[in-house]
């Protein structure tokens, strides 16, 4: 009846694990209690959970990402604390638990922190930058969100019921096979990836279509804002790389659940196929994470240097080249697998070539700042911090791309330092900068700058303290993922790294403090014009927060900095005498239910509760079929409503000191 789910599944094996379970349950209970106490379930359901508005979906993605950032960071600081004390002793974490923690740290940070964060930013911003009213497939957008949330839910429940994988975030067989990992951990990992991976593939398809087909009239491809370009390349990578993750997770699942032999040691299995398949997804994934951040940095440098972006065309071409090359370098993740020297050399060279377009970008950003009037807003600080730090990471990356060097450094903390050096500045700093920049657009008031700077300085200093020692430790030969060690030379470095993670802790505290202070002082920091930074692209033409339809009058685009041009022409704020009706997608709960069924399928398959898996599968299919036969998924916003919203907007603009063009042509 319950498959292999028994009372044994509860985490009584370690106090720390028990604590994790209790905290997880308490968080859920407290959150649910708070909503009940405030009497807001109906509001939450009607306005948010069932919404298909791209701005709300984006915000929900980012909320999920921030929650997961906390969870992933707790894992990180626990590992740092363990390694800081575990010289010649066992520390405070049992080995098996330590292994679960490094696995869940990587899995969460990549799939449930970074992916939702960038998807959220793309959702909030890209349609508005395009001058569009919504994405091409609003319902599919909601399904993507809820499948991602379902995957995150599987990660969460693995803390309470059963254990998580101990096989690292890439889950290499044969260790992740059923022979060596007979528990449910690897299955949780597989199903969390599968369920959320489908969501990411759909996000990719959605935004390729949106960007190619929903641009405002007149906007040529070479006039799209740079964040749109990088989102476009990221979407292409999502659509074309995530199927590989689906394949590799399914094949490992078949090995484990149905006893097949894709990656086993015996009967003709070939575990090297796994490394190939997962990195065919995995390397493009790195650029999926980084490219949107590159887009944010491009917008931020232009806005806060008060200049147009230097080398727009070269930035676009560099982005495209990076996207293309990202599919040609996957083998550098396993040079030591023993391919022939020529194969390794080719992939090594391909890897180094990626540094060229990236270098082009760095110079473009620097030249944008040259002779600009730089404003040291937190978003700009993140950008400058990124440029400095990312170059260091790039240099160590080129070093690792040399196969003989990689043979020395493979699986040492040098590698750990390198990829954190790419992803923390290259992805996370960009997402933070994007949050600082676009928060007013989503909520109508600006974020507190003092706490924004605190976030930056704590993360910046914390990053250097936490990861520079790991480069040194890599040279000293310390392997990654070590639960305890006997070499006294390593401990001082690990202590410094732990102190670094404490700085980051303050940084994460500052993130939430910034939200708290900003919400408290929101009336002093209202953004009345919708254009708080004197922006250049179309998202600043809408009100903050934007109306459900974004633009009552779709703007005409004739240049790269479309909104800037409109402002110069004095036609940025058109208010015609009357408005035509606007058709918008209606809210629907179908996405939530599909996510819920996705979660149940995953949970049931992890525990071999096959009747539930079949039932949930049928449930999900039924919702999908009913929904796809629906011909009336839209609602009409009446001209009277639009007139009311737009008059308010006009009054706000005038009180914000903005001159308004009256009766501009439709």
């Amino acid at each position: 009846m319950l498959g292999r789910l028994t009372i044994e599944a509860l985490p009584f094996y370690s106090w720390v694990a028990m604590g994790g379970a209790v905290v997880t349950i308490l968080t859920v209970v407290l959150a649910a209690g708070a909503v009940t106490w405030a009497g807001q379930w109906r509001y939450l359901w009607v306005e948010w959970l069932t919404s298909v508005d791209h701005k709300r979906i984006g915000v929900m993605y980012i909320v999920l990402a921030l929650l997961m950032l906390v969870r992933g960071f707790i894992d990180a600081i626990m590992m740092r604390a363990q390694q800081a004390i575990a010289l010649n002793n066992e520390g405070y974490l049992p080995p098996e638990h330590f292994e679960q923690i490094f696995t869940s740290h990587g899995t969460i940070m990549i799939f449930f922190m970074a992916m939702p964060f960038l998807t959220g930013l793309i959702n909030v911003v890209v349609p508005q930058q395009l001058g569009a009213r919504d994405v091409a497939f609003p319902f599919m957008n909601s399904v993507s969100l809820w499948l991602t949330a379902a995957g995150a839910g599987l990660m969460g429940i693995s803390l309470v019921i059963g254990r998580f994988s101990t096989a690292g975030w890439t889950g290499y067989p044969p260790y992740s096979g059923i022979g060596y990992s007979p528990g449910v951990g690897v299955d949780y990992w597989i199903w969390a990836l599968l369920v959320s991976g489908v969501g990411s593939t759909m996000t990719g398809i959605n935004f390729i279509t949106t960007i190619l087909r929903c641009r405002a009239p007149g906007m040529k491809l070479m006039q799209m804002p740079l964040f749109v370009w990088t989102s476009f390349c990221t979407s292409i990578l999502m659509a074309f790389a995530f199927p590989a993750l689906t394949v590799v997770a399914v094949l490992l699942g078949l090995d484990r659940t149905l006893g097949m032999h894709f990656f086993t040691n015996e009967l003709g299995g070939n575990m090297m196929n796994f490394a190939n398949l997962i990195w065919i997804w995995g390397h493009p994934e790195v650029y999926i994470l980084i490219l949107p951040a590159f887009g944010v940095f491009s917008e931020v440098t232009a806005i806060f240097s008060k200049k147009r972006l230097f080398g727009y065309r070269s930035l676009v071409y560099a982005t495209m080249v990076i996207a293309l090359l990202s599919f040609t370098v996957w083998l550098h993740h396993f040079f030591t697998m023993g391919s022939s020297p020529n194969v390794n050399a080719i992939f090594g060279i391909a890897t180094m070539i990626i540094a060229v377009p990236t270098g082009v970008k760095i110079f473009d950003w620097l030249f944008t700042m040259v002779r600009g009037r730089i404003i040291f807003h937190p978003a700009m600080l993140f950008t400058i911090g990124f440029i400095i730090t990312f170059v260091i990471g790039g240099v160590t990356g080129v070093l690792l791309a040399i196969p003989p060097v990689d043979y020395l450094m493979h699986n040492t903390t040098f590698l750990v330092a390198h990829f954190h050096n790419m992803l923390i500045p290259g992805a996370l700093f960009g997402y933070f900068a994007g949050t600082q920049l676009w928060f007013p657009k989503a909520f109508g008031f600006k974020l507190n700058e003092f706490w924004g700077k605190m976030v930056f300085y704590c993360w910046f200093i914390g990053f250097y303290l936490a990861f520079m020692p790991l480069y040194a430790l890599g040279f000293l030969g310390m392997p990654r993922r070590l639960e305890q060690y006997t070499n006294p030379d390593w401990q001082s470095f690990l202590l410094v790294a732990f102190i670094g993670s404490c700085f980051v802790l303050v940084g994460i505290f500052s993130v939430f403090m910034q939200f708290y202070v900003s919400i408290r002082d929101r009336n002093e920091n209202r953004d009345l014009t919708g254009d708080p930074w004197d922006g250049r692209t179309l998202e600043w033409a809408t009100s903050s927060p934007a109306a459900p339809y974004n633009f009552a009058v779709i703007p005409r685009v004739s240049s790269v900095d479309a909104f800037w041009t409109l402002k110069k022409e004095g036609s940025a704020y058109p208010f015609p005498e009357q408005y035509p009706p606007i058709v918008m997608p209606a809210r629907t709960g179908a996405g939530v239910f599909i996510g819920l069924f996705g979660f149940l399928v995953g949970f049931a398959a992890v525990w071999y509760i096959w009747w539930l898996a079949v039932l949930a599968m049928v449930g999900g299919m039924t919702v999908l079929i009913f929904r796809s036969c629906n011909d009336h998924a839209e609602e009409i916003i009446e001209p009277e409503t639009i007139m009311r919203i737009e008059s308010q907007r006009k009054a706000q603009l005038i009180s914000g000191g903005q001159s308004v063009a009256m009766g501009a042509p439709l």
């Binding site: 398809i205 149905l258 097949m260 196929n273 796809s628």
Partner: protein, 200 residues
């Protein structure tokens, strides 16, 4: 607000949506093509990994495969007839050809299941070797796609019956057609990569 203006706004919105959906569906097919490409690559790389177990030459029956191929290719043609009838707004004929397509699709899946069961009975199931794991996964993934396609055809028959050939229904039929023909192309790949090399 005058109802005709509202209706016009709705109609324009629908037209744009349907165009987007067709474009998006092509993208979906590309992602699916990548999925199959990787399964093909896995199959080819595991071709020799039979682990002293059953060899493909002893397992495949060319006549059986020919029948399967004939069913699936014919079903693609009959789907084409259904689409032509839809272009001429001939509801009954659309339903007729869709049901014929469904019959051919069912026969294909039936033949495939028979083939699988027969292999498993001979001790050549997916657990027997890496080679057979990759064979079953590749061919069954295609088979599952065909089964989902058949569910789609059933839904389209019902929609054509109840709603008639409205622009929305026609657009769904068109996209389902893309899916169905795509599966035909994948099958030609399977026939040429999996079955044919064993016999030549």
């Amino acid at each position: 607000m005058r109802p005709d203006i509202l209706q016009q706004a709705m109609a324009e919105h629908h037209e744009e949506c349907l165009d987007n959906r067709e474009f998006g569906f092509w993208l979906y097919l590309m992602t699916d093509a990548i999925l199959f490409a990787l399964l093909f690559a896995t199959y080819v790389s595991m071709f020799r990994n039979t682990a002293n177990g059953p060899e493909p030459i002893d397992l495949f029956d060319l006549k059986h495969v020919f029948l399967e191929t004939a069913c699936l290719l014919t079903s693609s043609v009959t789907f084409g007839f259904a689409w032509l009838a839809a272009l001429h707004q001939k509801r009954q004929i659309v339903m007729f050809w869709l049901i014929i397509t469904l019959v051919f699709g069912l026969s294909f899946v039936y033949l495939e299941v028979i083939e699988f069961l027969d292999m498993i009975r001979q001790g050549a199931g997916p657990q027997a070797s890496g080679y057979l794991s990759s064979f079953f996964t590749l061919v069954a993934t295609h088979g599952i796609h065909v089964s989902i396609g058949m569910l789609g055809i059933l839904m389209m028959v019902l929609q054509v019956m109840i709603k008639g050939l409205s622009p929305q229904v026609c657009s769904r039929l068109f996209r389902l057609g893309l899916f169905w023909h795509f599966l035909d192309i994948v099958w030609i790949g399977i026939f040429s990569v999996v079955y044919l090399p064993v016999f030549i």
